[in-house]
Symmetry: C2
Subunit: 203 residues, 2 copies
């Protein structure tokens, strides 16, 4: 009796169809300018149909948010091969910033927007945990190999994440108006380099 299995497959495919259409529209026009009706039009179904596959708009956004993490982990995977832990840490930071610049809408959804986190609320944030785990691990190695002094690992990881995230958050939300437009990305890169130096020798 393969019917229920086929139905399940169909259902999963419909979810993917919706998500792909949504992603396409979101990345093209920004999250604020895409409505459920737009997505429905794109896949040539009624708006109500989308609600058979997603609880509400936030649920849909959360699914895209998860996709974003899959993509990000994919891009980070090669970095895990770098043997020197500090060098690996630096490259992870650089990739974080690059990911934000190259996929601004997706990054926004993953780390800045409120919407996807509202669906979570109580439950815990598996993707976040995993990604943060990667960072904690590399920081731990830096301490083990004597690159960093021994501190609370999680607090240290948190400090590094925040420092790097700060650039991206200010950049994406247009708070770098004090720098000429053309310089903004350079400012971020230079700032990051300076931060890496500071980690090793202080300011």
């Amino acid at each position: 009796m393969g019917i229920v299995e086929r139905k399940e497959r169909d259902r999963e495919e419909m979810r993917k169809l919706i998500l792909s259409a949504a992603q396409k529209l979101f990345l093209a026009n920004g999250y604020e300018k895409v409505s459920i009706r737009n997505i429905a039009d794109e896949i040539e179904y009624s708006p109500a149909t989308i609600y058979l596959y997603f609880k509400d708009k936030n649920d849909l956004l959360f699914a895209l948010h998860q996709r974003g993490f899959v993509q990000m982990v994919e891009e980070f995977r090669p970095l895990l091969l770098i043997s020197d832990p500090f060098e690996r840490l630096v490259e992870m930071g650089r990739s974080y910033i690059r990911f934000a610049v190259e996929n601004p809408e997706l990054f926004d959804l993953m780390f800045i927007m409120n919407a996807p986190m509202d669906t979570l609320e109580k439950k815990d944030w598996v993707e976040g945990d995993q990604a943060f785990g990667l960072l904690v691990q590399v920081v731990q190695e830096c301490m083990d190999t004597g690159v960093f002094r021994k501190h609370n690992v999680e607090a240290t990881a948190m400090m590094i994440w925040s420092a790097i995230h700060g650039y991206t958050a200010l950049f994406l939300r247009k708070r770098l108006g004090m720098f000429p437009e053309c310089d903004r990305q350079t400012v971020m890169d230079d700032g990051f380099t300076l931060f890496c130096q500071t980690l090793r020798h202080g300011l």
Copy 2:
């Protein structure tokens, strides 16, 4: 002929009335849940009236955003009396975080939300420039007195701002789910302390 002056005063007062009502509602319910109609109801005028005083909703949000900066500068003023530049820098950072935690909605509007920056676009961001200027100044003093090595001042100031901003941005947008709720603020404070140490001696 004081009539035109009185009209001007009336007009200014109406703007204040609208802004105060808006601020009250926004701080109570969050920006996403307050509509122009809600604000109009609060001041017992028609919604259309608000458009005689503000171009659109973003314009109104931008006015509140400016108010936020006035309030923030007010809270920062006493810190400028601290003579030791590094100590002053540390206290400024601590105040930034405190301001974010104590006025989450306002801080969000000032440093995270898209809406108020959309009205700016071309023009430059005076409030941001000023606030950043304060930071640049204290960093410069830290370099002059030999607390920091000499680097590009603006890049250094930017690095420090980003590092501190990162905590607030992740905290306010609920990306600290990997820590138990009760610890989140401690994590921020400990992280900040660690960052200050790192600035002086490296990690």
